[in-house]
C-alpha cells in the first residue's frame, strides 16, 4: 500500500458522508412497509421440490447421452469472455469422458486448464440438466454474493508420477465469473500455484476436480472410488460426485535472471517447522527476501527464490504474496496486483519458493519492463 493509498483510507474514514436529513425517518417507513408486505405474502405455501430419485435416474440417462457425444459446446458468449485475450495459446478442451461428468443432474466440464509452470488457471462450466438450480444459484450469487453452492467443488493439481503428492500451495477456491442465459451455463474460474520442480515435464500434470453441486463432498477414506484412469490414488476421494480430469495446457513464459535481488516485503511472514511438525512463526534474521528469477506469462508474474539465506537448513517458510506487486509496462502504464499466491517445494535439500501474482486479464509478458515489490524496483533485462 503506497502513501497515497494510506491517505485515501485515512481521509475516507474521517470524511465519510452522512445520509441526508430525514433519512432515518424514511428508512423506518421503508422497514414498516416491508414488514407489512412480508406479512401479507405469508400464506404457508412451499415451493414444490423434485425428488432425488428422479434426478438420479435422469442423470444416469443423460450421462449415457453425454458419453455418446451429445454434450453441448462452449457457448459463444463464454468463449469470448474467457479466451478473447488468450489467443492463440488457450484452447477450449473438447468434451471427453474424462473432463466432463454428470452428477445429481448437474453437468460439469473442464473447458480450459492453463499453466505457465508457476500459475495454473482452470475454467469449469456447470449447467443443470434436470432443473434450474445453476441459474438460481447464479441469481442468488448476483443478489447476495452467496457462494455456498460451491462448497462441494474442489480441485487439485498434481503429477501422475508423484504418487500421493497433491501439492497445491495457495490454491484458490473456484469463483463464478459468468453465466450464459441462453444455455443456463455458469462459468467458474480457479487458480493455484504450481510449484513444479524444473526437471519435471509441465504437461504431465493433471487437474482433477471432485465434488458436487450445492453439497459438501461425502468423503470416506475407507472406501474410495477408483481414481480417474491412469492416476494414482490420492488420500481420499469423495464417495460420489464429479471426477474430472484434464491435462494442463502449457503457455509460454518469459523468464528473466535478475541475480539475487534483495526485497523487503511489507507484509511477509516467516515460519519454522518445530520438532512436532507444527509451523511456528518466527522473526526473520534478515528482513530481505532474495529473488533470483522473474517469470511472466499471460497469466501473471512469479518471483522465484533458489533457497533462502534465512533457511540455513532450518526449513524456514516465507511468504510475501500478501504484498502488492506493481507491474510497469513499456508505455509507462502500471498495474498493482494484490491477487497473490505463495508456494514452495524442495529440490533435494534446497527449498525453492515462489511468489505469484495473477493478472486481472491476459497481458503481454513482453511489454513488462519492471516489477516493484516492497519499494524495490526489479528491472527486467
Amino acid at each position: 500500500m503506497d502513501k497515497f493509498e494510506n491517505i485515501l483510507f485515512w481521509k475516507a474514514r474521517t470524511e465519510s458522508p452522512v445520509p441526508p436529513q430525514g433519512f432515518e425517518t424514511r428508512l423506518e417507513a421503508a422497514i414498516a412497509s416491508a414488514r407489512a408486505s412480508a406479512a401479507a405474502r405469508t400464506d404457508g405455501r412451499r415451493p414444490t421440490r423434485r425428488t432425488r430419485p428422479l434426478w438420479a435416474a435422469l442423470a444416469a440417462a443423460l450421462a449415457v447421452c453425454l458419453i455418446s457425444g451429445t454434450a453441448l459446446a462452449v457457448s459463444p458468449a463464454l468463449r469470448d469472455l474467457l479466451w478473447g485475450g488468450f489467443e492463440p495459446y488457450a484452447q477450449v478442451l473438447e468434451p471427453t469422458e474424462k473432463n466432463t461428468g454428470v452428477y445429481d443432474g448437474v453437468e460439469a466440464r473442464i473447458v480450459s486448464a492453463l499453466s505457465d509452470g508457476y500459475i495454473n488457471r482452470i475454467h469449469l462450466e456447470i449447467r443443470d440438466l434436470t432443473g434450474d438450480r445453476v441459474r438460481q444459484a447464479w441469481r442468488e450469487f448476483q443478489e447476495t454474493g452467496d457462494r455456498d453452492f460451491l462448497r462441494g467443488i474442489r480441485f487439485t493439481v498434481r503429477a501422475p508420477e508423484a504418487l500421493h503428492m497433491a501439492v497445491i500451495s495457495g490454491g484458490r477456491a473456484p469463483e463464478p465469473i459468468g453465466f450464459d442465459e441462453e444455455t443456463g451455463t455458469m462459468t467458474l474460474e480457479a487458480a493455484s500455484t504450481a510449484p513444479f520442480p524444473p526437471d519435471m515435464e509441465r504437461a504431465a500434470y493433471v487437474d482433477i476436480l471432485t465434488g458436487a453441486f450445492g453439497t459438501a463432498p461425502d468423503t470416506d477414506p475407507g472406501a474410495p472410488l477408483a481414481p480417474p484412469a491412469g492416476s494414482e490414488p490420492l488420500g481420499s476421494y469423495p464417495r460420489e460426485g464429479w471426477h474430472l480430469q484434464a491435462a494442463l495446457t502449457s503457455i509460454p513464459v518469459r523468464s528473466a535472471d535478475v541475480g539475487a535481488v534483495a526485497v523487503a516485503p511489507k507484509s511477509w511472514s516467516a515460519y519454522r517447522i518445530d520438532p512436532e511438525g507444527e509451523f511456528m512463526p518466527v522473526e526473520p534474521e534478515d528482513p530481505n527476501m532474495y529473488f533470483h528469477t522473474v517469470n511472466i506469462s499471460q497469466l501473471g508474474v512469479t518471483l522465484n527464490r533458489d533457497g533462502d539465506p534465512n533457511e540455513a537448513g532450518k526449513y524456514l517458510e516465507t511468504r510475501a504474496a500478501p504484498d502488492e506487486l506493481t507491474v510497469t509496462f513499456r508505455d509507462g502504464a502500471s498495474v498493482a496486483l494484490s491477487d497473490g499466491l505463495s508456494s514452495a517445494f524442495f529440490a533435494g535439500d534446497v527449498r525453492r519458493g515462489s511468489e505469484s501474482w495473477l493478472f486481472p486479464e491476459p497481458l503481454d509478458p513482453e511489454s513488462v519492463v519492471s516489477v516493484t515489490l516492497g519499494g524495490t524496483v526489479i528491472e527486467l533485462p
Partner: protein
C-alpha cells in the same frame, strides 16, 4: 430471523446501504429510492441470509443491485468504453471535502469501487461479488481511480 431482528440490521447498516447506492447514482434521492426497494427485497429474501455476521455485505449488495437496476432502466449505466478522455472538474460549493468532491467526480464505474473499498471497507474480493465483477476488474478500477484522484487532488492544491 424475526422481523424485528432484520429491522435492527437494516437500521444498523442503513447508512452503508445509502452510501453504496449513492456511489452508483446521480443524486441522494435516487440513492434513497434504491435503499427503499432494497429494504423490501431484504425482507422478501431474508432466508438467503444464513449468517447474521454477513448482514452488512448482504444488505449493501442488495442496495447496490437496486441502484444499478435503476440506472439500467434509465439507460444510464456507463460503460468504461464510453467514458470521456477528460474527467469532469469536481463541483465546488458543496459541503464535501476535497477528497469526497474528487470521488464524486469520478466516472460511475470507478466511483462505486472506490466508495465500497475506501469508505465502506470492503475487500476487493467482496466488491467483486457485490458488483458482479471479476476481482481483477475491481483491482484495475481501483488502480486507475487512484491515479485519477491523485491527479485531481494535486490540481486542487
Amino acid at each position: 430471523m424475526t422481523d424485528e431482528e432484520l429491522a435492527a440490521l437494516v437500521r444498523e447498516h442503513g447508512g452503508a446501504m445509502f452510501r453504496a447506492a449513492r456511489s452508483v447514482t446521480d443524486s441522494d434521492a435516487q440513492a434513497e429510492d434504491a435503499v427503499g426497494r432494497a429494504v423490501l427485497t431484504a425482507f422478501e429474501k431474508r432466508s438467503s441470509l444464513r449468517d447474521e455476521r454477513k448482514a452488512r455485505p448482504w444488505l449493501v449488495k442488495i442496495a447496490v443491485n437496486c441502484a444499478l437496476e435503476d440506472r439500467r432502466r434509465q439507460g444510464r449505466l456507463t460503460s468504461l468504453e464510453d467514458l470521456p478522455g477528460d474527467l469532469p472538474a469536481p463541483e465546488t460549493g458543496e459541503t464535501f471535502s476535497a477528497l469526497r468532491e474528487a470521488v464524486s467526480a469520478l466516472p460511475e464505474p470507478y466511483r462505486a469501487s472506490v466508495t465500497l473499498h475506501y469508505y465502506e471497507g470492503f475487500s476487493t474480493r467482496e466488491i467483486a461479488a457485490l458488483l458482479g465483477l471479476r476481482r481483477g476488474t475491481v483491482l484495475s478500477r481501483l488502480s486507475r481511480a487512484r491515479e485519477m484522484l491523485k491527479k485531481m487532488l494535486e490540481e486542487e492544491e
